[in-house]
Symmetry: D2
Subunit: 109 residues, 4 copies
Amino acid sequence: MSDFSVITNALKKFRDERDWEQFHNSKDLAIALSIEANELLEQFLWKDPTAANKDRLKEELADVFAYAFLLADKLDLDVEKIVLDKIKKNGEKYPVDKAKGTAKKYNEL
Amino acid sequence: MSDFSVITNALKKFRDERDWEQFHNSKDLAIALSIEANELLEQFLWKDPTAANKDRLKEELADVFAYAFLLADKLDLDVEKIVLDKIKKNGEKYPVDKAKGTAKKYNEL
Amino acid sequence: MSDFSVITNALKKFRDERDWEQFHNSKDLAIALSIEANELLEQFLWKDPTAANKDRLKEELADVFAYAFLLADKLDLDVEKIVLDKIKKNGEKYPVDKAKGTAKKYNEL
Amino acid sequence: MSDFSVITNALKKFRDERDWEQFHNSKDLAIALSIEANELLEQFLWKDPTAANKDRLKEELADVFAYAFLLADKLDLDVEKIVLDKIKKNGEKYPVDKAKGTAKKYNEL
């Protein structure tokens, strides 16, 4: 069983023991993911990057992954495939010779 | 090699070919993650959950995973471990007998 | 007519000419506000605070205010009153003698 | 004195009594605004729009306005002007005859 299946199965077991699938439509899962991403971001507010609390970061990043995996499962998407496909697509938007060493967006390159 | 390593290695190769690690401090990675989570959410704006465009969702969710994996790598965190640890911790905040069938937050149970 | 009424009336006129009130339930307005806040934030991504494009900031902040005012109107809230009330409440959470010169959250003071 | 000045002055007085301006660079203010927008959004998570708690919405929306006004002040922007300018610009992106009754984005009209 892949690493992804281990995580997704643990998340679905947790969800189903609490009968929570009824709340987990894809729109609310996306809202939950956005909220968790911002709770993670809050750990850095008013601070230098290195001053954030590592234990809090760990937990907030775990919550982000949890909703990302639940949403991937809900949409029946293969995480490894979609990420590798996106890297390929981004390679076309950000060719090495134009994008090297600059943080500009692709439409400004 | 685990699924996670495959993805993380592909993301770091893409990043390093473009000499982008200089921009990737943990705070800006967390900002990027929040932005991508909201680009995903935007696919559902003014719509029923099922009316979102599947191809767009696929790409936006891939971006969310990309920054989440890059941030986990930057913070030297083991994704499988932090998610399974968080599920255990959430089990204490949301005991089955209290949380079953309700979407209330743990501090309202 | 107050400044707030001028803005709110202009926003509602724009909305009603397009027959958009049907989409503007409070949940989707809150989603839109979150999306606009992150489009504003994106202007600072990978950058020093002063390096953001001023014209883009102006437009994105305007969008944030637009949805904030539309949501206040939808919820029948008086913007001046709720902000002044919140400042008073925050004064109790962050008493000057404890909060002065520190960016800590109230639960860490 | 305009409504906006009343609010902005009260916010700056609160900030300066606590010597917080040192933390308020425009990038962190934008992060704070994004975080508050998502705390507002969280009130709607897993719920119908009408099921959110009105008192919580009031406070979270007040926080959104607070950071939006502080950021406008930091960037030296006139809130009424930028919103009215943006409405005009949006009128060109969303002409009434094309946009009426549809929630499509301008690039899909």
